[in-house]
Every structure is written in structure tokens, then in C-alpha cells.
């Protein structure tokens, strides 16, 4: 595998709840990498930290204390740098038996540092699209204007007329109906699907190296969803853009992702090529992934008309993180042999097959995590 376009190592992004005077450990040591041209799908229940990981990558986390550790290596054509370079100079962390107990962060200093780091990256190298498109577009200016703005900001095209043509070209590529007319429309006059297409056009018009799609189809009704997924698939083929796709909807991930990372409680519990992770009867599978797949109607379950199983228990409260495996509370494949480990010691993310890692004591690691 050639060098990854984006490599996230041991990323930590915490928030602070004044109500309970405790850290919300949204992203608690996540390591991921995306190869050029590849689409990595991150899946997991809401609250598993997948969106926060994406936002951290794009440097859009504004709440306190925000990103406090880890590295985000970007190796694209124009920019090769660690987006969190020098973070340690602005953050001092106190740990007690492996758990962070206090954080001191120079917000203003880090924000200035991050701005310089992100120079020419955010919006240019890394583009993002969001969940509810209608509110994500500036209601006070037309779709065309917002597109032209991105083009003139990030591409060599500076002339007004030229940029306008380029924008219309992109509207065509996202298959918006009558793009010349839509160019002068305001967001409130357009449907959710249409807005999302405009968002995608806007993101891609900057010709980014990496597209981060944070729940692009959630919030759209079913028929529109599938059309947007088709569009993304189409664009992936046409542009070969490297994508970081975040969704809680497994069917969307199945459809688009080359590789998959399953996140739970702020950590990656399983990662591997899509085919392996989602294979119907794979022997090696993390209990949480299995439970996730079981709760989604697949042709096979429809054929067997078997009931879908819901995963009992609630989503992990990332404030009181348990000592051992985070899924232990809801795991139904705990055996006596590994119970003691599962309860007391967090399993490492071991490689069970080339490129396929699982964080579970059922499959003790063959290689290093």
C-alpha cells in the first residue's frame, strides 16, 4: 500500500462538561489512515466520536479543550505536514494510571498556530460536506455566488465570467437540474437533495485532495438519500477523490467505502477492507460490528425473515469510560476465559489478518496493534 494521504495517529479530542466537572472523551486515541483515491468509511452509533474525528481532521473543533493529542499527517500534492504539529507546546496534560485527569490548554495560542498550519489546506486540500445541507449553505447569498467564491479562493480561475462558467460546469457534474437557472437561486428555495448537491459541487470545485463527508445523507428522506449515494459513487469514479465518509447508515457505507473503520466509545474497534469487514459470514468479527450488521436488514436476513436484533443497553457514556473493553457492558460473546481481561484490561487493536484489525480479546493479536 503506498503512503497514506491522511494518517491520524492516537488522536485525542476531549470536551469539558461544566455540569459534571468531567471530560467528555469523544475521541480517545484514534488511529486511522486513508490511502490516496481510497474511500474510508467510518461507521458507528451516534456518540461514538466519528463526526468529532472528522471535524478534528479539518481543524473545525472550536469547543474547549478540543484536540489535545495525537498527529494528523497529511501527504497531498501541495501540502505535506502534520496538522497538529507543535500541539504539545500549547497543551499540558496530567495523567494518572493511564487516564488523563487534567488538561491545561493555551486556546488563543493554539488557534493562531492551527490557522498557520491550516493555511492553504482547509478548503483547498481538505474539503468538507455536512449533514443538513439546507442550513449549511449561506441563506443570504445565491448558490452560484457561494460556488464562485470557492472557485476564486482555491483555484487558478480568478475572472468573474470564467469562474461563473466553472461553477455551472460543477453544477452540471453534480447533476443539478437546469444549472444556469439554479445558479441564481437562494438555498431556501431549493430542496434538501438539491442543496446537498450544491454542497458537493462547492466542495469539489476547490479540487481538494481529500473530501470529508460527515453524514452526507442523514436528514434526507430515503429516495433522495440513495440518489446522493449514487452521485457520490459516480463522482468517486470520475474524480478518484480520496474520501473520508462518516455515516451511521451501514448501507451507505457498504455502497461507497473501500475500507471501513468501526468506532465505538471514541476508539476504533475494527478496521479493514470493506469486503472483509462486511462479509456476511466472516469468522473474525468484532462483536460490536456483528451486532451492528445484525441490526440492519440485509438481503440474507430478509430471506430468512428473521427478526433484527437490537443491541441492548445504551450507547457508552464517554465520561465514565470503563477500565476494560468499552463494549464489555453490551457484549454477548464474552467467554469465561477472557472475561477477566475484557472487564479489566482494554484490548489492543490487533491485526488478525493483513490489513484487518480487531480490538477484542476473542482474537488475541498476532501482530503488533
Amino acid at each position: 500500500m503506498d503512503a497514506p494521504l491522511l494518517a491520524i495517529e492516537n488522536l485525542r479530542t476531549y470536551f469539558y462538561s461544566r455540569a459534571r466537572r468531567a471530560f467528555i472523551r469523544s475521541v480517545d486515541g484514534v488511529s486511522l489512515h486513508v490511502a490516496p483515491g481510497e474511500t474510508l468509511g467510518i461507521v458507528g452509533e451516534s456518540g461514538s466520536g466519528k463526526s468529532v474525528t472528522a471535524l478534528s481532521a479539518a481543524g473545525l473543533v472550536s469547543a474547549a479543550p478540543g484536540v489535545i493529542g495525537g498527529r494528523i499527517e497529511l501527504r497531498s500534492r501541495q501540502a505535506r505536514r502534520n496538522l497538529l504539529d507543535g500541539l504539545e507546546r500549547y497543551v499540558r496534560v496530567k495523567e494518572r494510571d493511564g487516564r488523563i485527569t487534567a488538561v491545561e490548554k493555551d486556546d488563543r495560542g493554539w488557534r493562531r498556530r492551527a490557522e498557520t498550519l491550516m493555511e492553504g489546506v482547509r478548503g483547498k486540500e481538505i474539503a468538507m460536506i455536512f449533514q443538513n445541507p439546507r442550513s449549511a449553505l449561506n441563506p443570504y447569498s445565491t448558490i452560484g455566488a457561494q460556488l464562485v467564491e470557492t472557485i476564486r479562493l482555491h483555484t487558478s480561475v480568478k475572472g468573474e465570467g470564467e469562474a461563473r462558467e466553472r461553477a455551472i460546469h460543477w453544477l452540471e457534474r453534480v447533476r443539478i437540474d437546469s444549472p444556469r437557472l439554479r445558479f441564481d437561486n437562494f438555498p431556501f428555495g431549493m430542496s434538501g437533495g438539491m442543496c446537498q448537491r450544491a454542497m458537493i459541487a462547492m466542495a469539489l470545485s476547490a479540487e481538494p485532495s481529500l473530501l470529508i463527508a460527515d453524514e452526507p445523507t442523514t436528514g434526507l428522506d430515503a429516495t433522495i438519500q440513495s440518489r446522493i449515494v449514487d452521485l457520490l459513487a459516480q463522482l468517486k469514479i470520475e474524480t478518484g477523490i480520496t474520501t473520508l465518509l462518516i455515516s451511521h447508515d451501514i448501507s451507505v457505507i457498504q455502497r461507497l467505502a473501500d475500507r471501513i473503520a468501526v468506532m465505538y466509545g471514541g476508539t476504533v474497534v475494527e478496521t479493514g477492507r470493506a469486503a472483509e469487514v462486511l462479509a456476511p459470514q466472516a469468522q473474525v468479527r468484532h462483536p460490536y460490528t456483528a451486532a451492528l450488521l445484525a441490526s440492519v436488514p440485509s438481503p440474507e436476513t430478509i430471506r430468512r425473515k428473521s427478526y433484527l436484533q437490537a443491541i441492548e443497553g445504551e450507547v457508552l457514556d464517554t465520561i465514565e469510560v470503563p477500565r476494560g473493553c468499552r463494549f464489555y457492558g453490551r457484549c454477548n460473546r464474552v467467554t469465561e476465559a477472557i472475561r477477566e481481561n475484557c472487564a479489566g484490561l482494554e484490548p489492543p487493536l490487533g491485526e488478525v489478518a493483513p490489513g484487518h484489525k480487531v480490538r477484542c480479546w476473542l482474537y488475541p493479536a498476532t501482530g503488533k496493534a
Partner: protein
């Protein structure tokens, strides 16, 4: 960002002017009611010092063309007002409208000047607080602004006059056209400085701008703008700044006009405020009616500005 089509703005203008006309009618009715219900007779200011045997008083009423019944008086006044004749001041005999026009300009100058100053102080504090949250700097500035807007206007005026006299050795009173003092333009600024800072509106302007801008900065489309690497300011400007500023400006004009009455007294400023006080004392009802209407026109003008900006900027509004 091209403004929305001009047609909706003109529609708003038409509607707004109609509403303004109705409101001015309302204002004149309210003022007339107050004057009519008030005990005492507005003509007494002239009868002072002489015993008005009934026929003399009657003689005077005809002289002033004062019909008997109240609705007669109102109708007469209203009829004349429509042709731009606001009647004559009982005290000075001058026709009211030209006098108000001449004097109104000074008050307009004072009000707008102090409005600009209030914004010059309030905007940086509000924007900084909204953008960077409560730093020591902007909290101190905010509290300082709250203190300034809690200060009695005329007392602050005296402080400024005192400082001007003893520290700068200059007397902050604009002399009339008769004698030209050297830095005359400087003296024009002093009352504006006082009304601009101590008119009691500073705290609310800051609060309104800060709240609106904070709300907008938390909107999704601002996050998209940052994700796009576009300057946040260009996206937040319309909803986060332009509309709140026009809203608070149009809301605060009545207060500034009120403050003007005091500042004009302290600084001997020949404005409408001072005239209003004199007229209220003499119950010079043509002048009071005139001032109420012109002042109401000021306020409606501010409101019109706000409506026009809102419609022009906000696409959804112009489509209604």
C-alpha cells in the same frame, strides 16, 4: 452579493410610508388628547399679567382662530397641517414648520453624530466578545460601557465641560454666527461625545449586537464557511452585523432624541429638544404638535431604513 430585486424593496417602501402616515396621525391624536385633557388653558401664557375679561379672551381666541369644540380644533389643526401649515407658535408667533426645519437640522446632526459614536464604541466590544468569548479585555470594556450608560447625562455633560475648561482651557460652547471661535468644529463634537456615550443606550446596543453576532457565528453556514477556508466575516456580515445594527439603531432613536433634550440644554445647542422643553412649559400646543410629529418622523425614518435594509438583504423577506 447583489441585493435582491428592487421591486420588493419598493413594495416595502410603499407599505412603510402608508404605515408611517397612519402613525403620524396617531401621534398627533395622542398629543392633542394629552393637551386637551390637561387642566389649564394654553392661551394663558398670553393672558399673563392682565385680567382677561371674557370678551378679551374671546377676542384672542378668534385672533388665533381657535374653534370651540375639541374636534373642531383638531380638524382645523389637521386641515392646516396637511397643507404644511403647522400653525404659529403662541409664544413667538413664528410659523412652526420653518422654525422646526431650521432647528430640527441641529438635532438631527446631534442625534446622528451620537448614534455613530455609540456604534463606534459598541461595535468593537460586541464583535470582540462574540468572536473571542469573555476575555479580561472585553469584559472590562463591557462593564465600562455599562457604567457609561448608567451615568446621568447632564452630570456627565458637566464633567466634560469642566474637563474642557480646566484641562484644555477652551470653552466648549459654540458661539453663534456672530463671533467665530477658533476651533469651532471641535465644539460641535463635544455635545455629540456626551450624548453618544452617556445616552443610556450604549449597554443595550452592545448586548443586542453581541447576542445576534454570537447566535449567527454558531450557525451551520458559518462552519461551512470556515471549512471552505472563506473569511468568516464576509459570510457573517449580513445576518450577524448589518441587520442587528439597523434593528438597534431604529430602536434607539427615540431614546437619543430624549437625551438630546438634556444635552441641548447643557451645551446651549439650538436644537429641537430645547424647543420642546420650552414649548412644554408654555403649553405652546402648535409647537408641541409640530415637534411630536417631526420627532416621530425621525423615528419612522430610522424604522424605514431598517425595513429597507432587512428586505434588501434577506432574500426570503423579499419573496413574501
Amino acid at each position: 452579493m447583489k441585493f435582491a430585486a428592487v421591486r420588493p424593496v419598493s413594495r416595502v417602501l410603499a407599505r412603510e410610508l402608508a404605515v408611517t402616515a397612519l402613525l403620524l396621525l396617531g401621534v398627533s391624536a395622542v398629543v392633542f388628547a394629552i393637551l386637551y385633557l390637561a387642566p389649564g388653558d394654553p392661551l394663558n401664557v398670553l393672558l399673563e399679567g392682565q385680567s382677561p375679561r371674557s370678551e378679551l379672551a374671546l377676542g384672542m381666541r378668534e385672533a388665533l382662530g381657535v374653534p370651540r369644540t375639541w374636534y373642531g380644533q383638531y380638524a382645523a389643526w389637521f386641515g392646516k397641517m396637511l397643507q404644511g401649515n403647522f400653525g404659529n407658535s403662541i409664544r413667538t408667533g413664528l410659523p412652526v414648520l420653518p422654525e422646526l426645519a431650521r432647528v430640527g437640522v441641529n438635532t438631527l446632526y446631534l442625534t446622528l453624530g451620537s448614534l455613530v459614536l455609540t456604534l463606534l464604541i459598541a461595535v468593537p466590544i460586541a464583535v470582540h466578545t462574540a468572536a473571542h468569548g469573555d476575555t479580561a479585555g472585553n469584559t472590562a470594556a463591557t462593564i465600562g460601557a455599562y457604567i457609561l450608560s448608567a451615568v446621568p447625562v447632564f452630570w456627565f455633560g458637566y464633567i466634560v465641560v469642566y474637563v474642557f475648561i480646566h484641562k484644555f482651557g477652551m470653552f466648549p460652547l459654540i458661539s453663534g454666527t456672530a463671533t467665530k471661535q477658533a476651533q469651532a468644529w471641535l465644539y460641535f463634537l463635544v455635545p455629540i461625545f456626551v450624548l453618544g456615550t452617556a445616552s443610556g443606550t450604549l449597554s443595550e446596543v452592545i448586548r443586542h449586537l453581541r447576542e445576534e453576532l454570537s447566535r449567527v457565528l454558531a450557525e451551520d453556514y458559518i462552519r461551512t464557511a470556515r471549512a471552505k477556508g472563506a473569511p468568516v466575516w464576509r459570510h457573517a456580515f449580513k445576518e450577524g452585523f448589518l441587520i442587528p445594527v439597523t434593528e438597534i439603531v431604529s430602536a434607539k432613536i427615540p431614546f437619543l432624541l430624549g437625551g438630546a433634550v438634556i444635552v441641548e440644554q447643557v451645551f446651549n445647542w439650538p436644537g429641537m429638544g430645547r424647543m420642546a422643553w420650552q414649548a412644554a412649559q408654555d403649553r405652546d400646543y402648535p409647537v408641541i404638535m409640530g415637534i411630536a410629529l417631526v420627532a416621530a418622523a425621525f423615528v419612522r425614518l430610522g424604522n424605514l431604513l431598517q425595513r429597507v435594509v432587512f428586505t434588501a438583504v434577506n432574500p426570503r423577506a423579499s419573496k413574501e
